[in-house]
Symmetry: C2
Subunit: 150 residues, 2 copies
DNA sequence: GACCATTTGTTGTATTTACAACAAATAAGA
DNA sequence: TCTTATTTGTTGTAAATACAACAAATGGTC
């Protein structure tokens, strides 16, 4: 067993840590940038789907988005055909912050992939997508209460 | 910019989530498995180094390890030549839990890498190590209070 | 239409996480 | 040796995270 998953964990924690420190400048507290980005990229998305995309707990997403709303970065709108769901949209302020987040992400991308050729970057992306799809299935199952057998 | 870092984040959160659910069975609360594994693999390590390896905040590691100690899974021993540091060792109970964690990790490894050939796994590992080393440098710098320019 | 499972959202609560600030031991430099 | 910087560890505090439990709307099935 090569320590692939361990490398992934280290990279993820390090980058998240950096982003959280850097985004304090925009009054974004821990983790908020994740949600804002997804909502900007998918205006009209509902929070349940955001949680699924990010692989965080439903209630965590709910509270993070509540806070984004409270801070005026995101807006909840009623759906005309479905009284249960709230469609999420960035506010003008949210749209304004978005490019700064993307700029930071682009920088982290550059740092992280420094020294990798175009081909290597490509290979890495393809492989990671496959890994993510594999893991995704187990995550959804376990979150629904199913037990993995091994 | 391909969304490599996004894939890494998703994979890391999903796997962490699964592990946390599965390890509740062993009375390990959120995140604790990370610390226990590193201490079992590096008996005598100090908490500062554990935090560095995991890329978590020093104080987070401190409290996680405090709890492991309190729950009888890890033991702190004085160093004979240095009154400042505490050397960490797994207790008998810690050693007992360790293989269960590794078994779970091996299963997650299998799931995550399903469908990847030996060569692909190898390539992925090499590339991720390079990415991790890149990110590591920035993380250490930012954690020390330095500002990244971009 | 009535019934039941699923989806979506919320609140209460416990715990983890991290920043800030401090303290003490050690290491380094003059 | 004295002074200063670095390393290592702790505590106070604020916030995020997730689980459990609940509620309500929806969708499917008979």
């Amino acid at each position: 067993m090569k320590e692939i998953l361990r490398e992934i964990g280290m990279i993820a924690r390090a980058l998240d840590s950096i982003s959280n420190i850097e985004f304090k400048e925009f009054d974004l507290t821990k983790g908020q940038y994740l949600y804002l980005v997804r909502i900007c990229e998918h205006p009209g998305i509902i929070q349940e789907k955001v949680a699924e995309m990010l692989k965080v707990d439903r209630t965590t997403a709910a509270r993070a988005i509540q806070k984004l709303e409270h801070n005026g970065l995101v807006e909840k709108r009623d759906d005309p055909h479905n009284r249960k769901i709230n469609r999420l949209f960035p506010t003008a302020k949210g749209e304004q912050v978005f490019p700064y987040i993307m700029r930071e992400h682009a920088h982290s991308d550059n740092v992280a992939l420094a020294g990798l050729s175009e081909t290597e970057t490509d290979v890495l992306f393809q492989l990671l997508q496959r890994v993510r799809k594999n893991v995704e299935m187990d995550w959804e199952s376990v979150k629904k209460g199913n037990k993995r057998e091994y």
